[in-house]
């Protein structure tokens, strides 16, 4: 996919799709740089405009002038500026920043996140703490999530965890059929997974389940 050249993308429809997918990160980065905001995964108009501009840049690019990425960046930037000008004209004299449509927010997810944050705090944890304890390797992460999901299915382990306000390592080792060393090394991460799957946090559960399915390229859905 990475080997598809601009010339191939200009001539073949399939090659163009692959070429665009390969340049998703580039497009997102360019949009974020121009708008100063993060690109929202769903329904981000800026991203749509940029994607359209990128597609147009493939058609209008002629070799020898500059690199394609440089050319595409200029095209995307100009298209986004035009888009914001139109938005400004449409919304009158409001500031440019205000004209950028705010992404739709998932209130259910926000409630779940607030609930999880509250429960974590009872165990003396925060999302900020979890940054440090998140397993680095994909395999380790998946194994920890699997152990946590298994333990969350056993009611008395969850009850015991809320009683002692920490992970019952011995019980989790038995339930997860793993080693004490592994559980102890990732106890905070496993505890968080148990909390997510023992509570009614369906959106969070789905997001975590997606991660162990190796679905790390959701942008491809677009």
């Amino acid at each position: 996919m990475d080997n598809i050249t601009i010339q191939q993308a200009q001539t073949s429809r399939e090659a163009r799709e692959l070429f665009i997918k390969a340049h998703f990160p580039f497009i997102i980065y360019t949009v974020s740089s121009v708008t100063g905001r993060y690109v929202v995964v769903e329904n981000d108009e800026s991203f749509s405009v940029a994607l359209e501009a990128f597609n147009g840049a493939i058609d209008t690019y002629s070799e020898g002038v500059s690199k394609f990425e440089t050319y595409a960046t200029t095209v995307i930037k100009n298209k986004l500026i035009d888009f914001y000008r139109q938005q400004k004209k449409h919304y009158g004299h409001e500031p440019l920043e205000e004209t950028i449509p705010a992404p739709e927010r998932d209130d259910d997810l926000r409630i779940e996140i607030a609930d999880l944050s509250s429960k974590l705090s009872k165990f003396g944890l925060s999302f900020d703490d979890l940054v440090e304890v998140s397993p680095t390797h994909q395999d380790t992460r998946e194994k920890a999530i699997t152990v946590g999901i298994k333990a969350s299915k056993i009611e008395w382990i969850v009850k015991r965890m809320h009683e002692i306000l920490k992970l019952p390592v011995v019980e989790v080792v038995k339930a997860g059929e793993t080693t004490r060393r592994f559980v102890y090394s990732h106890k905070d991460y496993i505890l968080t997974v148990i909390l997510v799957f023992s509570e009614d946090l369906t959106r969070m559960q789905q997001f975590v389940l997606d991660s162990i399915k190796g679905d790390s390229h959701e942008h491809q859905k677009r």
Partner: protein
């Protein structure tokens, strides 16, 4: 360039925590419009750096402040360097600086360096006895000179150097700053230190303490030689040292309002005074003091003084080198006396040497009577002015020699 789709879990003042689709929690930089629950794309450039975190955790600067990250780092570095320099300067300013040197000759002979607050920076023994005693004296840098001196005197007393009879102690002090010639600060220091001593703790006998001022030259000499500044001063001094405090059975009595009388030896421009003196030795001390109009020739201390140790004077141990004096009375060259020229070559512990009177008597240019002329060897310029100098001064000085030399013998 990799991208991740993440869900925003928490938004802090400086960064946000997100959960990636891979199951990791990541800190990302804040951008406008970010909110908890947002499902966004992030790139590697959006990951919050560790060094940025360290700054924000120390709350040096907030991202929402006027400063950019780069500026914040620059200011942080400047602040760090400034604080280091400030601490260094403060340390240097507050660190004790040697202010004066104080010597105590009992004998044993001690010398201490004090700061401007009269706290001890260093103590050393100037002879073997003192060095041996100092091993038993517990003192710490920063203690007051009074406390350390008290402890030294107690140790000296315990070891029998202060006995039940008359004990003479000579205290000498000199400012390290050679530019300061005023005697007042030295007087204040000695008075402050001596007045606070608890004499009852180390003596039941009679203690006669005399004080003398010294100067930067003496400090240099004492550093290069194994003598205290007090010993050095007495080596070159002609005038007797008046006792400042007399202690009887632990009760101190001041004999003078201030420890140190202005020493005219240190004033080279001083006019030579001739005061009437009688042959029967009633010269005043002031007369004796001004005879030394050339302090740069301290070695001219008359050896002939030593012969009249009548024991009624104040300490003057400098004449330990009087055994060289027979060769020193050789006319007006003035520098043959004692053979020391300010460098005393006699240990304080040596007994006084009686000078041959007949040798001095041959010095016809200086003596009109059979009495000893003190000023003869002191300075050729002052010869004529001191012809009538009575023996009483000599007697006083020699008494000092006797007394101190007597003390030098360890019981």
């Amino acid at each position: 360039m990799n991208i991740k789709n993440v869900k925003v879990m928490e938004v802090k003042s400086d960064y946000a925590v997100v959960l990636s689709s891979e199951g990791t929690f990541i800190r990302i930089v804040l951008k406008p419009g970010i909110s908890v629950g947002d499902h966004i794309y992030i790139t590697e450039a959006d990951v919050y750096k560790a060094e940025e975190l360290s700054i924000s955790k120390h709350t040096l600067f907030s991202k929402r402040a006027f400063f950019s990250k780069r500026t914040a780092f620059t200011f942080a570095r400047m602040a760090l360097v400034s604080s280091v320099v400030l601490v260094f300067m403060l340390f240097k300013a507050l660190s004790p600086v040697a202010y004066a040197v104080l010597s105590v000759d009992i004998n044993p002979s001690f010398q201490m360096v004090v700061d401007a607050a009269y706290n001890v920076l260093d103590v050393e023994g100037k002879n073997d006895e003192a060095r041996q005693l100092l091993t038993e004296v517990e003192w710490k840098k920063g203690q007051t000179a009074t406390a350390v001196l008290q402890r030294i005197l107690e140790e000296v007393s315990d070891n029998g150097y202060i006995h039940d009879g008359d004990n003479h102690i000579l205290v000498a002090a000199a400012l390290i700053d050679s530019k300061k010639k005023d005697i007042e600060p030295v007087n204040q220091m000695v008075e402050s230190i001596l007045d606070q001593l608890d004499y009852q703790s180390f003596t039941e006998g009679k203690l006669i303490i005399s004080a003398i001022s010294s100067d930067h030259t003496a400090i240099e000499q004492s550093l290069s030689q194994v003598i205290s500044i007090g010993t050095y001063e007495l080596e070159k001094r002609i005038a007797p040292v008046e006792p400042y405090i007399e202690v009887n059975h632990g009760q101190a009595k001041k004999l003078m309002p201030h420890p140190i009388k202005p020493n005219k030896q240190n004033q080279p421009e001083e006019e030579v005074e001739t005061s009437p003196s009688t042959a029967d030795g009633t010269d005043t001390e002031e007369t004796t003091e001004v005879t030394t109009s050339k302090p740069e020739k301290p070695s001219k201390a008359p050896a002939t003084e030593e012969k009249t140790n009548n024991g009624n004077g104040v300490p003057h141990p400098s004449n330990n080198n009087g055994n060289n004096s027979n060769n020193s009375n050789n006319g007006n060259n003035g520098n043959g006396g004692n053979g020391s020229n300010g460098k005393p070559n006699v240990k304080p512990t040596e007994p006084p040497v009686e000078t041959d009177v007949s040798t001095e008597m041959t010095d016809a240019t200086k003596t009109t009577e059979s009495t000893v002329d003190v000023s003869t060897e002191a300075s050729t310029e002052t010869v004529t002015t001191n012809e009538n100098k009575g023996p009483s001064d000599n007697a006083n000085e020699n008494a000092t020699n006797k007394d101190l030399n007597k003390d030098k013998v360890k019981p």
